[in-house]
């Protein structure tokens, strides 16, 4: 071995160490990291209002991630004017509130742009670990907050956060059920449909929205490009099409097509071409398709065994395998983008709807929600770490988020009156 190779072999473990995540998200050793986020140092009075909104969104993102024990600002002992560099911070005061990591950030406004400089410190060593700067127009402080939260999340986990992704859902208002698209936390919501009955929306990887609508009398599939017009998916001549799901590459859709006697799962290109029926049961229902992250398999619900259960099959319809054997009512499967789990809604022995996850390989079932109203319609975040769902624990169904293990259940902020239904998380 020459000297160069020896040096390289010495350096490699160091490089790997530098890349190691601070927080190991999965595994038995996971413990939320006690994190103090100091209130922002705002430069200039005009930046105060947008900085307040930014702070609220940033704090929500970090709290909802489930990675951190977010320390209460009411306990903080540092001087309000304490600086944002390691030399000016009294780390003992942060250790005394239990912090292991500290985030400090400044907000400034220049020429209609809001700028954030955020730093992450290790309280024990008193060192600055990470610094990130971001800018966005003053009108969208939430967007800027998501960017800062994403940078902090990436620093601690070495993987992308869910904070820059989008969600879609149905909101009931009067007799209408409309499709909406929003930021991951439900803010910045935009109405996609204008009245009528619209159901079961799905978000494609390029921002396309597909949904079922009764605008032509019978349920049909519609597809709206992010900035474009709405086209009807020509997949459903004379039959009822519902429950569309995008393939991971966004080129194919799976959906359920019903006639008088049965409902079958079909796949097609997003323009309606290459239609193919995947299930073939004489009677009964096959519905709610969800793609595996590699695009090779589809999870779906079928009552071919007598009660609705979760099944998986290959995308050509072969290799059908039943996955759930407990309970007599399991539905709305959603395949984790990490591939290992399928979350679903089950009716338990007390007739309450709750969320469960089944391991695709072992069939092991884990309960995610319990004793808090009806919890339905799970949808995994793009990184597979969070699950969005609806819950009736506060009365009408609202959107909630929790970790993939069922911890840290929180409602999305700023939800208005009227039921929120059938969410989907853009991948």
């Amino acid at each position: 071995m020459n000297v160069k190779a020896l040096l390289l072999s010495l350096l490699l473990p160091l490089a790997a160490l530098a890349q190691a995540p601070v927080i190991q998200i999965s595994g038995a050793n996971f413990r939320p990291l006690p994190l103090a986020v100091s209130a922002p140092l705002v430069q200039g009075d005009e930046a105060k209002a947008p900085a307040g909104k930014l702070d609220e969104t940033l704090m929500y993102d970090l709290r909802a991630s489930g990675l951190f024990q977010m320390l209460d600002r009411a306990s903080f002992l540092a001087d309000a004017k304490e600086g944002v560099t390691a030399g000016s911070i009294k780390f003992a005061r942060w250790a005394d509130v239990g912090a292991e990591a500290l985030v400090k950030y400044t907000v400034a406004q220049e020429n209609g742009e809001l700028r954030v400089e955020a730093r992450v410190f290790n309280v024990g060593s008193g060192r600055e670990e990470f610094k990130t700067t971001h800018g966005a127009p003053v009108a969208v402080p939430h967007k800027l907050a998501h960017q800062v939260a994403d940078a902090i999340y990436r620093h601690f986990t070495r993987e992308p956060s869910p904070f820059l992704s989008r969600i879609t859902y149905v909101r009931k208002s009067g007799t209408n059920r409309d499709v909406w698209v929003a930021d991951w936390d439900g803010r910045n919501a935009k109405q996609v449909t204008k009245g009528g009955i619209n159901l079961l929306p799905a978000l494609g990887p390029d921002g396309q929205v597909a949904y079922t609508s009764y605008r032509q009398g019978q349920p049909d599939l519609f597809l709206q490009q992010e900035e474009g017009e709405t086209v009807r998916l020509k997949t459903a001549e004379g039959q009822m099409a519902t429950g569309v799901a995008f393939s991971p590459d966004g080129k194919r859709v799976a959906y359920s097509l019903a006639d008088g006697e049965s409902a079958q799962v079909w796949v097609a290109d997003t323009n309606g071409g290459n239609r193919k029926r995947l299930t073939d049961t004489r009677y009964g229902i096959n519905s709610s398709p969800s793609w595996s992250p590699d695009g090779k398999r589809i999870a779906f619900v079928s009552n071919r065994g007598g009660s609705p259960q979760v099944y998986v099959m290959n995308t050509d319809g072969s290799g059908v395998k039943r996955l759930t054997f407990q309970g007599n009512y399991n539905q709305t499967p959603d395949w984790s983008p990490r591939g290992d789990l399928i979350a679903f809604t089950a009716r338990d022995e007390r007739n309450a709807f709750d969320l469960f996850a089944v391991n695709v390989e072992t069939g092991k079932i884990t309960r995610l929600t319990q004793d808090q109203g009806n919890n339905e319609e799970p949808a995994f975040s793009p990184n597979g770490r969070l699950i969005l769902f609806t819950s009736t624990r506060n009365g009408t169904p609202q959107l909630f988020v929790m970790t993939a293990e069922g911890n840290n259940q929180m409602p999305l902020p700023g939800q208005e009156k009227g039921a929120y239904l059938t969410p989907d998380w853009g991948r």
């Binding site: 209460d72 306990s75 002992l77 005394d96 509130v97």
Partner: protein, 151 residues
């Protein structure tokens, strides 16, 4: 609850112990013990009382409340108004996880002030309070023993 079910039966003996007063008493109680000072390096200067009682060796660092001779109260090295102490401690993740803190008070601080601080800590959910004392001047029995053993 127990009494309501015995309506009309005047001679029925109450067989349950009424635990309410006992719980009240328990809530008022703080567990108090002595801690030696050298472990606790504090920025706040106080003249610690000397104590001959055998102190507890603190295994890990707990949150320290200091009261100096001017009756100023500190959490760690940060001065806190007495009125804010309860709020600060109730929100403090370290105090809430440990349920224990160390009191580092000057020997000339009136007993009433110490009790005020301890009461605030107790209302904030702290159950154990370690009283930091000065082992060097006071008769720290175990230390003397060690020295003698060395000779």
């Amino acid at each position: 609850m127990g009494m309501g079910s015995n309506r009309g039966g005047g001679r029925v003996t109450m067989s349950e112990i009424n635990v309410t007063p006992m719980v009240d008493v328990m809530l008022v109680l703080l567990i108090i013990f002595m801690v030696t000072a050298p472990l606790i390096q504090q920025g706040v200067k106080v003249n610690l009382p000397e104590a001959k009682a055998a102190p507890v060796e603190a295994a890990e660092k707990k949150l320290v409340l200091s009261i100096d001779a001017q009756r100023r109260v500190y959490i760690g090295e940060a001065e806190v108004a007495l009125e804010e102490l309860e709020t600060k401690l109730a929100a403090n993740a370290k105090a809430q996880a440990d349920k224990e803190l160390y009191l580092h008070a000057d020997r000339d601080v009136p007993y009433g002030v110490v009790v005020d601080v301890m009461a605030a800590a107790q209302r904030a959910g702290v159950t154990n309070v370690g009283m930091i004392t000065d082992p060097s001047a006071g008769g720290r029995a175990s230390n003397k023993g060690k020295k003698e053993a060395k000779r």
